[in-house]
Symmetry: C2
C-alpha cells in the first residue's frame, strides 16, 4: 500500500470511530480509560522492555542525555501514566455541557459542548505523550491519530497496543486510537491534508517539524512551539527567592519546554547576584554576554544564535540588562511566546511586564515550570499552545472540544 | 511598488498599530467608534454616491438581482451601519476581563482576555461588512486589514476613508484599519502568508475563495463557508408553523448565508403540505425531486448539483424523504455545516436531529434566519464560522479575543 492510501485509510477509520465515540456516555469512556490503566499497570514490564529497545538504539545513535531522559520510561513514569489515566477518568466529562438562555424573541438559545471529531498528534520523543494524548482525546470524545517520533517507536507500539486492547475490551471502536507506524516523512504531509476526515492537527516538537506542518496543512493547526523561556531578575527583588526560582526553573527538569533557557539580570544587582547564582547552579553550563563574563570570568560566550536556542539541557544563557524595557525587548526578539517571568518586588514593573509580554503564560515571582496543565488544574495536558487561536498555553480537556448552537423555538421568525 | 511589498507594508503597519490599540482603554475605543458613526451619518450622501458607482458598474456587468441587493447601500442600510456602530460602542469591552483562582500550590492563576492582534478579513460583495468588521476589530483591540470584493471597491473606499478619519480624530492610529485597494489576486496570497504580522484570517465568500485561502494560508484561518441551509418538515408537525417558518427562511432576505436553500418534506404529509407551500411561496422558483414533481407538476427538476448549490436568490430545492434518517443523511451529504433545522412536534425526533446534525447551528421549530450574531446577542457579527476551532457559528466580539495566563506567586516552585 502506498503511504498516501495508508494515511487516508487511517483517517477514514478515525472519522467513523469518532461518530460512534460522540455517542458514548461518560461512564463508557471512563471504563475504557480505567481498563487501559489496568492493562498498562499489569503489563508494565512489556512497556519498559519495549522502551529499553528504544533507549539502546538512542544511545547507539548518540542522542543527548536530556533527550534520553525524555525518552525513558522508568517504573515511576509508567506509574505516572497509570495515575494520569485514572485522574482523567475521574474528571468531569467536558462533552454535553449545555448553557442556555431565553432570548427576547422568545426562543431558547443553547450552546452545547461537543467533541471536535478527529485529532492528529504529531510529536517527538516523549512516549508518555502517547498515553496522555490518547486518554484526553478519548475522554473528550475524539478519535486520535498518533504520529510519534521514530526514536520512541517501540515504546509507542507497546503502549498503543495496550490502549487498543482496552478499547476493544470495553466496547469502544479500537480505531479511535491509531498509531502511524510507517516512517516515511510523506506520511506527515498526507496526514495534515486530510481535511475531509481530520479536524485538528497538534504538532509538538522542533522548529522545522512545526514549520513544515504549518506550511503544508489544510486542516487547522494548533502549534506547540519550542519554549525559549526567560526569567528577568528586576533591580528590586527578593534575592533568595530569585535564586531558588531560577534553580527550580532551570534544574528541576531541564528537558521540558517550560524549563528556563535565558536569564536576564538587571545590571544594578548583577555583581552581587551572579556569583551567588553560579554557586547555586554549579551543575549548569552558563553562557554569558560580555558584561556577565566580566563578573563570571570562566564562563563561555553567549552568541546571537544561543539566545534563540531551546537547550532542553543543563545549559543557560545569562545576559545583563540596564532596564525592564531592555528585558522586555530581549524577550520580544528572542522569545517564543511560551512562558516568561519576572522576579520583582516593584508592583509597577510587575504590571508593565505582565501587560507587555505577549506570551501564553507570564509568571510573576514563580518558576516557569509551573506553566503546566496539571499544575493549572486542567488535568493532564495535551500540550502548551503558543498560538492565539482556540487554545493558548496549557491545553487540557476543555480545549479538545467544540460547540454547537441549538435554537429551540415555537415558530420564531426573523423580522 | 510590487504587490508583495505593498501587502507586507500594510501588515507591518497593522502590527504596529495593534500594539498601540492593545493599550487603549474602553472609553478611547468607544469614542473612536462614536466619531466614526457621526462621520458616516454626516457624510452618508458621499457613501451612497460611491455605492451608486458600484451598483451601476455591477448592473452593467450583469450581476444578479440578489447580488445587487447585497451590494446596495440604501439610506436605511447606512442608518443600520450607524446604529450598529453605536451598539458596538455600547457593548462591554471584551478585553481585560480577568478570571482568577488560587491554586492549591498557593499562587494566583489568572486568565486575562486580550486582543488577538491583527485580523485579515477577505470578503465579497456586502459593503456593510467593511464597517462591522472594522468596528468589531477596533472594539476588541485588534487591527484589521480589509480585502473586500472588487464589485464594492468604491463603497469600501468611501467607508474606510471615514473610518480612518474617525480614528485620527480620536487619537487612534489610522493604520488600525486598512483597505487593500490593489486588485491583483496575488494580494490575497501574500496576505494569508504574513504569519509574522497577521494573527488570523477570516475569509467570507464563495467556495473557491475559501479553498484558495485555506490552501495557501500559513496564518490560522477561520472559515466562513457557504450556507446550504436545510429545513426538514417532519411527519408530525404544526403545518401552519411549517409554512410560515419556510416562508421566512426562504423569502425574508434570500441573499444571506442563513437563508433556506433546500426543503426536505416527510412523504406522509407531502401531498397535503406541498400545494399549500407552492401557494404561500408564489414568488419562489422551485426545483423538485421526482416525487415532488408528481405533486407540484409544473416545477423544474432538481439536479444532483442543485442540492449542493447556495442560490442566495428566490430559488429553492424541494425533496421528499421517507424518514428522519433519510433527511439527516441528505443534510450530511449535501449540507455545509452552517445552519439546518427541523419542524416537528415529535420530541424524540427533535433530539435525534439535534444530536446527529453536525452543523454550527441547529434550529428547532424556528427560522434558519435566526442564525445571526445580533439575534444571538453577540452584537454585530463578523461572520458565521463553519469551522470547529476557536469559533463556531455566529462570531461576535468575544470570539475576536484571545487570552493569556498570568501566574502571580511568591516564590512558588514546581515539585
Amino acid at each position: 500500500m502506498d503511504i498516501q492510501t495508508y494515511i487516508k485509510d487511517m483517517a477514514r477509520k478515525a472519522k467513523s470511530a469518532s461518530v460512534v465515540l460522540r455517542g458514548k456516555r461518560a461512564e463508557e469512556k471512563n471504563s475504557a480509560l480505567q481498563r487501559i490503566a489496568d492493562l498498562i499497570q499489569m503489563r508494565q514490564e512489556s512497556v519498559i522492555e519495549a522502551n529499553r529497545h528504544d533507549l539502546v538504539q538512542g544511545k547507539n545513535s548518540g542522542l543527548s542525555a536530556a533527550f534520553l531522559d525524555r525518552l525513558e520510561l522508568s517504573r515511576s513514569r509508567v506509574d505516572g501514566m497509570v495515575q494520569s489515566l485514572k485522574e482523567i477518568a475521574a474528571f468531569e466529562d467536558p462533552v454535553g455541557q449545555v448553557a442556555g438562555v431565553r432570548r427576547p424573541q422568545g426562543f431558547i438559545l443553547e450552546k452545547v459542548r461537543i467533541p471536535i471529531g478527529v485529532v492528529a498528534m504529531i510529536y517527538e520523543s516523549r512516549p508518555n505523550v502517547t498515553v496522555e494524548a490518547a486518554a484526553l482525546c478519548l475522554k473528550s470524545g475524539n478519535s486520535v491519530i498518533l504520529r510519534g517520533g521514530s526514536d520512541a517507536l517501540e515504546s509507542n507500539r507497546a503502549l498503543t497496543a495496550l490502549i487498543r486492547e482496552g478499547l476493544e475490551d470495553t466496547g469502544v471502536p479500537s480505531d479511535a486510537v491509531q498509531l502511524v507506524e510507517r516512517r516515511e516523512h510523506e506520511g506527515v504531509t498526507w496526514l495534515v491534508k486530510q481535511a475531509e476526515y481530520v479536524d485538528l492537527v497538534i504538532p509538538r516538537g522542533g522548529e522545522s517539524l512545526i514549520r513544515t506542518v504549518a506550511e503544508q496543512a489544510t486542516v487547522p493547526v494548533i502549534k506547540h512551539y519550542k519554549g525559549v523561556c526567560h526569567l528577568y531578575i528586576d533591580e528590586k527583588c527578593d534575592t533568595e527567592m530569585a535564586l531558588s526560582v531560577v534553580h527550580n526553573a532551570k534544574v528541576q527538569r531541564p528537558g521540558t519546554c517550560n524549563a528556563l533557557e535565558t536569564l536576564l539580570v538587571h545590571q544594578k544587582i548583577s555583581a552581587q547576584f551572579l556569583p551567588r547564582l553560579r554557586q547555586k547552579l554549579e551543575n549548569v553550563r552558563m553562557k554569558g554576554c560580555e558584561r556577565t563574563k566580566k563578573i563570571l570570568k570562566n564562563i563561555e560566550h553567549a552568541t546571537e544564535q544561543d539566545f534563540y536556542t531551546e537547550y532542553l539541557d543543563l545549559v543557560m544563557n545569562v545576559r545583563i540588562v540596564d532596564s525592564i524595557e531592555e528585558a522586555i525587548a530581549h524577550i520580544e526578539r528572542y522569545g517564543s511566546n511560551h512562558t516568561d517571568g519576572i522576579i520583582s518586588e516593584d508592583t509597577r514593573h510587575i504590571q508593565q511586564f505582565v501587560d507587555m509580554i505577549d506570551s501564553a503564560v507570564v509568571t510573576v515571582n514563580a518558576s516557569t515550570r509551573l506553566s503546566d496543565g496539571g499544575v493549572f488544574g486542567l488535568g493532564a495536558e495535551i500540550g502548551i499552545s503558543t498560538d492565539k487561536l482556540h487554545a493558548r498555553g496549557p491545553m487540557g480537556l476543555g480545549e479538545l472540544t467544540s460547540y454547537k448552537w441549538v435554537v429551540r423555538g415555537n415558530g420564531n421568525l426573523r423580522t
